[in-house]
Amino acid sequence: MAETSAGIARRAPRRGLRAPSQWAGELWIGVVILGVVFLAAVIVSIVPFHDPFAISDDAYAGPSGSHWLGTDNIGRDSFTRLALAGRTSLVISACATAIACLLGMLLGVIAGYVGGFADHLVMRVCDVLLAIPAILVALMVRVIVGPGTIPLIISMGLIYMPTFARVMRAPVLALRDRDFVVAAEIAGTPRRVIMFSHLLPNALTPLFIQAAATASEVVLLEAALSYLGQGVQAPNPSAGRMISEFAKFMQTDPWLVILPAVLIVAISAAWNLIADGLQATLAPRRSAPSGNRRRRSALRPFVGDAVLSGAAVVADAPALPSADPEPQLIEKGTGQS
């Protein structure tokens, strides 16, 4: 009964991010928006057309060949300053999220897999940290360390770390009792290897989605703090502070406020779009109305066994719709205490 490729039902594509053609639309839009902001930031960093801090007499200028988006109340180039504000926002959101994600991931895997006292301790600490409004933690760090970009990154990394620990722990807990992990334990695979080779890769999808969603929250929190004067400090450009500074010129020069507002919304929305897109691409549950998810569970046994017995192959038949309840003959009641 040797089996060759003809005997295997179908070489189904593996779900993943390797094929951009399979990306959900949201993911594309999000990546493009962040790409544009990033590109603008790179351009003004490498080729400084204008000194972002240089005060000139040319205040409140409209868009021109020299000043693409005009100038502000003291004649600084708006495009340059917005691009730098975008850079700050991107850097803070990416760095803070990366810190939170790495720390949280580690804590979550350990808590979920090791269990017992370590789990209890980590989760209680997370509960407490999550129960303190993020902005209060950020303001406390600001009071202690002083305002600035680095304290912002550190405080936000701390603030969002527990979320990641939780997001990581839940699938690890579920995976820990899966038979393939038990099989690995029986095989004598070291715990460290089980954690990072079996558990982590299978639990990454929710982590990625959470990371993008968190980055969006970081953008909004940084903007809010800067708006309150407690975030990025003058003269470094920040979209949040631009809005509070230029609010008084709103009647006469609304663009001074509109442009930074658009920048904040665009970056935050882009991260959210990436989160939604990752959800749709990596975990196609609700977003796939054709019910792809059930294809394997409902049709698979039929296809595979039909092939096995040498019968006509219906492998390429379309997926059975999700609600078809053809049962697999699983004796669910035999689970043990």
Binding site: E3, A9, V182, P301, D305, L308, L320, E331, T334, S337
Partner: protein, 569 residues
């Protein structure tokens, strides 16, 4: 069968498709009032689609290509959703497979039963609640006064299925559609629910469409049987005709693939092969034919010779779990057993009997509270020496119930099968060589090495899992319900494979199952577990022939066996 009464359900020439795939093709049958019609088939046979069609519960993507369904003389095809709502629950009711998830967790039992009556305007709220209590008594719910105020999570699986039955008969429907109603239940509970269905049929004159994959269950309750394969009815008749004198080759093959008492234990089962069409006839002398006439039964020559050396001995194992503050569960209660080299030791028990805990303790995945385990005479429980334990660990492996769960979806087949070799510490070349050899033994080419589990069917995955267990050439393998998640035809392949490996390598198995027929087929000796204790132990054939313990007797009596119906007829 001629019945002049209006049938409870009449299906004529029904064809249903999903997109391009036809899942039900030209199916027609009648269910008379008070008659139980069974539909049997493996996964993908379309039997559940027929059940859903009868209830008008097909998903939107399903297309009704042709055919009529009429319920008690009333045509149902072409009814609007609103009209269907008036029919469902009132004239046709349904019981599902999963009692755990089929009840609303946020509503009391009483409210869920009473709802059927109020929805259809059959009674007021107060009257409906009184009727709910009567119905709970009708389905023999223990302590109905208390249970009606409870929520589903406070009930056992069998009790939930009783609630489903009470809901189903609340509005005195003409038809009950039962889709694998006992598949998720233990055999003793299954027997109770089957009795209940028979009783209700008698009392109410209910027509029942009974969907099942279990030939024994079908033989026990049904008046008539339809055999479905790939969306078509292959054969139809009384259980006696179909299950003992099958006319169609598919039915014959299906029957031959099931381990039976009349077949000699540990001989290969027939594996279903080829394609089947409607109208095929069984030719005399067909190897798959004969239904119940498997290879002749006879005394097993090498049946558990007592002189085989003991490989593994467990003495007075106790393991308890804390449930809440005061209650503890004794999952293992003074369990002692001895497994001899080269034999298959069957362990039988219902859910909660402690058989999986026993497996875990034997695999050193859980520590026993007290008791010892000896492997080749040295202690390997936590009290043993490190060297002995390490040596034991290298010599034991396990195969699990659900092959979808036991293979890491992100590991290639090579990495999966090679995993136990990591501890042995071989080079890349030698590892690959060993993996290929192990895969070849279960029937795979080296070509599958770079593939991922999701590319394989359930039966194929289980063979890969067996290859992984066998790659280190272990002396002892625990098989924890290795065929429970598989169709009978695939089960036959896996059982044959396990037998073949044992004959070749002389490996020792501990075979854990709730399926008595399979244990009987595979085991030399066996133990029966109940509430954490071994209540009976002995040579498998003898335990089955003359069970000593009352629980074993009860267990065997509740087993719907094809043979028994044959004897009765």
């Amino acid at each position: 069968m001629t019945d002049t009464r209006t049938p409870a359900l009449e299906v004529r020439d029904l064809s249903i498709s999903y997109g391009e795939t036809t899942v039900v093709q030209n199916v027609g049958f009648r269910v008379a009032p008070g008659e139980i019609v069974g539909v049997i088939g493996e996964s993908g046979s379309g039997k559940s689609t027929v059940a859903m069609a009868a209830m008008g519960l097909l998903p939107p993507a399903a297309r009704n290509e042709s055919g009529q369904i009429s319920l008690a003389g009333m045509p149902m095809t072409g009814l609007s959703e609103k009209e269907m709502c008036r029919v469902r629950g009132a004239r046709a009711a349904m019981v599902f497979q999963e009692p755990m998830s089929a009840l609303n967790p946020c509503m009391t039992i009483e409210a869920q039963i009473a709802e059927v009556l109020t929805i259809h305007g059959l009674s007021g709220k107060a009257a409906a609640r009184r009727r709910a209590l009567e119905l709970l008594r009708l389905v023999h719910m223990p302590d109905p006064e208390l249970k009606r105020k409870q929520f589903p999570h406070q009930l056992s699986g069998g009790q939930r299925q009783r609630v489903m039955m009470a809901m189903a008969v609340a509005a005195s429907p003409e038809l009950l559609v039962a889709d694998e109603p006992t598949t998720a239940l233990d055999v003793t509970v299954q027997a109770q629910i089957l009795d209940l269905i028979l009783e209700l049929r008698q009392d109410i004159g209910l027509g029942v469409l009974f969907i099942s994959h279990d030939l024994g269950v079908i033989a026990q309750v049904c008046d008539r049987v339809l055999v479905m394969y790939r969306g078509q009815v292959m054969e139809e008749g009384t259980p006696d005709q179909v299950l003992h004198h099958p006319q169609h080759p598919y039915t014959a093959a299906l029957l031959a693939s099931i381990p039976r008492a009349s077949q000699r234990p540990r001989t290969p089962l027939t594996v279903i092969g080829g394609t089947f069409r409607v109208g095929d006839r069984l030719s005399p002398g067909d190897p798959a034919g004969g239904g119940a006439n498997g290879p002749a039964a006879g005394p097993e020559p090498a049946s558990a010779e007592p002189d085989r050396p003991v490989l593994l001995e467990a003495t007075q194992l106790v393991k308890s779990f804390k449930l809440g503050r005061r209650r503890t569960l004794r999952a293992l209660d003074d369990v002692s057993l001895a497994i001899r080299q080269g034999e298959t030791y069957g362990v039988v028990g219902e859910s909660g009997s402690g058989k999986s805990t026993l497996a875990k303790v034997m695999m050193l995945l859980a520590r026993p509270d007290t008791g010892t385990i000896q492997y080749r005479g040295s202690r390997v429980d936590p009290g043993g020496t490190r060297r002995d334990i390490e040596d034991y660990r290298r010599n034991v492996q396990m195969v699990f119930q659900d092959p979808n769960d036991s293979l890491d979806p992100r590991y290639t087949i090579l990495r999966t099968v090679a995993e136990p070799l990591r501890a042995v510490g071989l080079g890349t070349e030698e590892t690959r060589h060993r993996v290929e050899r192990s895969l070849a033994a279960v029937g795979f080419d080296a070509e599958v090495l770079s593939r991922y589990p999701h590319e394989f069917s359930g039966g194929q995955k289980q063979r890969i899992a067996i290859a992984r267990a066998m790659v280190t050439e272990p002396s002892f393998v625990v098989l924890d319900e290795p065929t429970s998640a598989l169709d009978v035809s695939v089960q036959a392949q896996i059982l044959n494979l396990l037998l073949e490996i044992q004959q070749r390598t002389n490996v020792t198995y501990m075979f854990i199952s709730h399926n008595l027929a399979v244990v009987r087929h595979l085991s030399h000796r066996m133990a029966v577990m109940h509430h954490g204790a071994v209540v009976e132990e002995g040579v498998a054939e003898e335990v089955f022939r003359s069970p000593q313990h009352p629980y074993t007797q009860r267990l065997l009596a509740s087993l719907p066996e094809l043979e028994r119906s044959a004897e009765a007829s």
